[in-house]
Symmetry: C2
DNA sequence: CTGTTTATGTTATATTATAACAATCTCTGT
DNA sequence: ACAGAGATTGTTATAATATAACATAAACAG
């Protein structure tokens, strides 16, 4: 398996076992929370599972609609609080340019991810190129700025969608 | 004047002539629009001027409030259409992580800017480091992705605010 | 237990953005 | 000047995203 394969999984409509993606993500989540003493309640766990449901960014109110099917009293704060928790332990990322959320591909290591967002199919792949992150941070510091968080989002066309229209 | 001076102007509360910033921005805007055959109407020009009012990102509804003082019938579409126009000719940028807008420091050259956003004072400085932009684009292309637009936003503390709390 | 913290429920509202259609302005060709 | 076409702005309504504020209920430590 080429090293790019994991990164590009979201762009492969067929040929990746997404059930396994989700199971692995939940397992990793348990470990991360245990390590940090954070409490992954059933609600938070379920929201994380829903975020992972597609290999694509999900909007808060879509999560809410789904959750309402199984938990009558879900309201906007229900979802936003769960999302805030998941963000705080870095199990998910927020895609600023889409107002949407996506599961973190590598929650065990701290990082400000870089995201490739396909205009065609909506899929998002998460890179983690330390060279880019470091270069950006260095450039900021060279100007006397103290960086805290990076948001790097690249819109364009994934391999499949570039081939089509 | 050191080369960083222009970039850091937004972080210097004193000692930069902001009136000149605005006048220069409007002059450049006229030129850009003339060159592209775009029509910088009084309304659009005024909204651009308001965006430049502070050297900081401005939210759409704040612009709307201001505009209403001088144009009774301003409504959300008034502002959003003007902003869409200004974005389309790249006279302003949208800061995704703030849902806010900021004047482009260099509208004569096409670029996906990189933004340093101060948590303390709210000021935003625009970099344009081609090395970063190229590296990001190259990395995307190496994965078969065709990049169209980059969003790069760095939150942190500007020199002044890092010195304080 | 009992108070304290954490998590969730509940209602209401704030903030950001767009849809849809009407009116007006601008420009062009005659 | 006039008609028609396209661009711009006005107007009303509503969609989409997010948070405030306070109530209730679990979880947990002493
Ligand atoms: Zn998957
Ligand atoms: Zn991640
Ligand atoms: Zn710019
Ligand atoms: Zn500052």
């Amino acid at each position: 398996m080429a090293p790019n394969d994991a990164v590009l999984a979201p762009f492969r409509k067929q040929g990746h076992d997404h059930g396994k993606c989700v199971r692995d993500a939940l397992t990793a989540a348990e470990q991360v929370c245990a390590r940090e003493g954070a409490s992954l309640t059933p609600l938070r766990r379920r929201v994380l599972e829903l975020v992972w449901g597609a290999h694509a960014p999900v909007r808060a109110y879509d999560l809410l609609d789904t959750l309402r099917g199984e938990r009558r009293r879900a309201a906007p704060p229900t979802i936003y609080r769960a999302l805030d928790f998941l963000l705080s332990v870095r199990l998910i990322h927020r895609i600023e340019s889409l107002n949407a959320f996506v599961g973190c591909a590598d929650p065990k290591h701290s990082h400000g991810g870089q995201f490739l967002i396909c205009d065609g199919c909506g899929a998002v792949a998460e890179l983690d190129d330390p060279t880019i992150a470091r270069r950006v941070a260095d450039r900021a510091r060279a100007l006397g700025f103290t960086p805290r968080r990076q948001t790097i989002e690249i819109s364009g066309r994934c391999p499949d969608c570039a081939a089509d229209g």
